[in-house]
């Protein structure tokens, strides 16, 4: 068999899977819409014919479509940055949270959730935006600090950075713990739910910032595929191959901080996608980053959409935080990988 054929078929399959996920995410939900209405609304959106189904138009256009787009972008960004981090740390167990961006974002969110309840009054309508901004800023700040701590004599020591990430994650955890202590019953629940992530309440206004960042990351990271391949051999080898290793590292970290920061700001903490998807794709397409990056982006988007379908359908009319679903799928799968690689 021609080895080049395998990825091609695989990409066709992944694209089909993603389209299926998008279709299901638009067509299914707690509200049962007739298939004809769904089709009419979708054709109407593409400018073909008038939808003439106001209920379906509202549910698909205002609730499901923004949610689907959010899921796609968050999933793709988390998976892409997961590949970047596993490449940078040359460790298949690395996840995008390793450089402190997730814990920084959680810290920013906790400060706002508890701060708003105790010290500051904000108009209810802008609170979600302030929360997103604080999470994004928190993620960037902690990552910047981790990066600074990892630098010595103009060189970024990946191992030092890893440890700095662990230490700052612990420190952020302590401050979050303090916020938890100060929180009342209701804020405590808000904090817990935020930490489990959700695509609930997605709106176009909150999508645009993430869309810009996600596009940037999705376009930029694949251009560094060759460099990531070279880094697999080791940093000095990559340097001898003519790559500017320091600059590549900086770019990877910046991309991850921006991407994960924006994703977490929009949807809260959603675990395991950034860890499991790159892993799974590596099994299918091999370690070549030129294939691994786009495959992970497609699979990440599809996985998050399927997880979100489960989150909104399983306990309807209520809804489950999506982080529970991704962890329920992700953790056993990860164990399976571990056991398989041992035998």
């Amino acid at each position: 068999m021609n080895p080049a054929l395998v990825p091609r078929w695989l990409f066709v399959a992944l694209a089909a899977l993603l389209l299926l996920a998008i279709w299901l995410s638009l067509a299914l939900g707690p509200v049962n819409l007739p298939l004809t209405d769904t089709l009419r609304v979708l054709f109407g959106m593409l400018g073909l014919g008038s939808p003439d189904a106001p209920q379906a138009e509202l549910i698909i256009g205002q609730i499901r479509l923004p949610r689907t787009l959010l899921g796609l972008m968050v999933g793709a960004v988390l998976a892409l940055t997961g590949v970047a981090m596993q490449g940078l740390f040359r460790n298949p167990l690395a996840d995008p949270g390793l450089i402190g961006v997730a814990s920084g974002a959680a810290l920013g969110a906790a400060l706002v959730i508890v701060g708003v309840a105790r010290w500051v009054t904000l108009p209810v309508s802008i609170e979600p935006y302030v929360l997103s901004a604080a999470a994004f800023a928190g993620g960037l700040l902690v990552t910047a600090l981790v990066y600074r701590l990892g630098r010595r004599n103009g060189q970024t020591q990946v191992a030092t950075m890893l440890l700095a990430g662990v230490a700052l994650t612990a420190l952020a955890g302590a401050v979050i713990g303090l916020m938890t202590y100060l929180a009342d019953d209701a804020t405590l629940r808000a904090l817990t739910f935020w930490n489990l992530g959700s695509l609930n309440g997605a709106s176009y206004a909150r999508l645009w910032p993430l869309l810009l960042v996600a596009l940037g990351v999705a376009l930029w990271l694949p251009r560094r595929a060759d460099a990531l391949n070279a880094m697999l051999l080791g940093e000095s080898e990559a340097r001898h191959l003519g790559f500017e290793v320091e600059r590549i590292k900086r770019e990877l970290i910046l991309c991850t901080a921006l991407g994960v920061g924006a994703a977490v700001a929009a949807a809260g903490l959603i675990g395991f996608v950034g860890l499991v998807v790159p892993h799974l794709m590596r099994l299918l397409v091999g370690p070549d980053h030129r294939l691994l990056l786009p495959a992970s982006a497609l699979a990440g988007g599809a996985l998050l959409l399927f997880a979100d379908l489960a989150a909104r359908l399983l306990v309807a009319p209520a809804e489950m935080p999506i982080g529970i679903v991704t962890a329920l799928i992700g953790a056993p799968f990860f164990l399976y990988l571990l056991i398989r690689s041992r035998s």
């Binding site: 707690p30 509202l58 549910i59 979600p128 909104r312 309807a316 009319p317 209520a318 809804e319």
Partner: protein, 296 residues
């Protein structure tokens, strides 16, 4: 003859306009918020409820309704599956983007106040009375509420002229885990104050206290609410968690009271006056709450 026709016409017209009025009232309600839901039921609107949130646990018949999840984490599409005319809740209801989506979908959103004071209750009941088409009933409920609390306050201040108010702590048990102690600014604090007790906890909000600190406060009474445990089981769990309490005055004298935890969600609910009267009578045995006959 003509008079009869006119009268008949008048009656028909009146009936029609009444029907029209009834048709304008929201018929399908989703209620998110413990006290708000209880008021809807108390004012005779239970048959209009098509869904409630997880904090609406009283009366028990609500368990048969579909749950829309936690009041702060509503799902727009989930709520829409119940095709409600109205979503009722408090300012705690959210998240805001979901409320906006629901509003765009034509669901009327009404947010009551969860504040624990009578002014907030008055607004809430007025609004509910209009929404249910039962303004008199709502007004009567409010008057009754006021009257009972007012009478209780009078009696308590009369007794407090010659007796010291008992020092009380209200603990929220967590299935026997380390309990949270209700401090200032909580509904529990308001409850203790209205029942004529002195809340010994000086902190803000709900906090856990160490076993030693609990014993050192040397309360006259402990009021414990627990989601799972009652009576002796609750006491055993509390003592297992806080051994220092075993020799305290409260336990020696058997001054432990249980309270239904669903009383403490979402502002002043309809069951509070009866609870307050009971508590006050326990604290001051010679107190006489207003009898049901005297209230009419």
């Amino acid at each position: 003859m003509r008079l009869e026709y006119t009268l008949a016409g008048l009656c028909a017209g009146l009936l029609l306009s009444l029907n029209a009025l009834a048709a304008e009232l929201p018929q399908r309600w989703v209620s998110a918020g413990g006290a708000a839901t209880e008021w809807v039921v108390a004012l005779g609107g239970e048959q209009r409820l098509v869904g409630v949130d997880t904090t609406s646990q009283h009366p028990a018949s609500l368990a048969a309704l579909p749950s829309v999840g936690y009041q702060r984490q509503l799902s727009a599409e989930g709520v829409l599956t119940l095709t409600p005319d109205l979503l009722l809740g408090t300012e705690e209801m959210g998240p805001p983007p979901v409320l906006r989506q629901l509003q765009n979908a034509g669901v009327r959103i009404e947010q009551l106040s969860a504040a624990s004071d009578l002014a907030a209750l008055e607004d809430n009941l007025q609004r509910l009375g209009e929404l249910l088409g039962e303004p008199q009933r709502a007004q009567a409920a409010l008057d009754d509420y006021r009257q009972r609390l007012g009478h209780l306050q009078q009696q308590i201040s009369a007794i407090q002229a010659h007796t010291e108010a008992p020092g009380v702590l209200l603990l929220i048990g967590q299935g026997g885990g380390n309990p949270l102690v209700a401090g200032r600014g909580t509904l529990a604090d308001w409850l203790l104050d209205q029942a004529g007790a002195r809340n010994l906890a000086a902190h803000e909000g709900y906090k856990t206290l160490s076993s030693e600190a609990l014993a050192a406060l040397d309360a006259d009474w402990l009021v414990v609410t627990d989601r799972q445990l009652r009576g002796t089981e609750m006491q055993q769990a509390l003592l297992a968690q806080n051994p220092a309490l075993a020799h305290s005055r409260v336990v020696r004298e058997g001054h432990l009271l249980t309270l239904d935890p669903t009383l403490l969600t979402g502002g002043l609910g309809p069951r509070l006056p009866a609870t307050l009267e009971q508590l006050a009578q326990t604290f001051y045995p010679d107190l006489q709450p207003l009898s049901a006959d005297a209230r009419r």
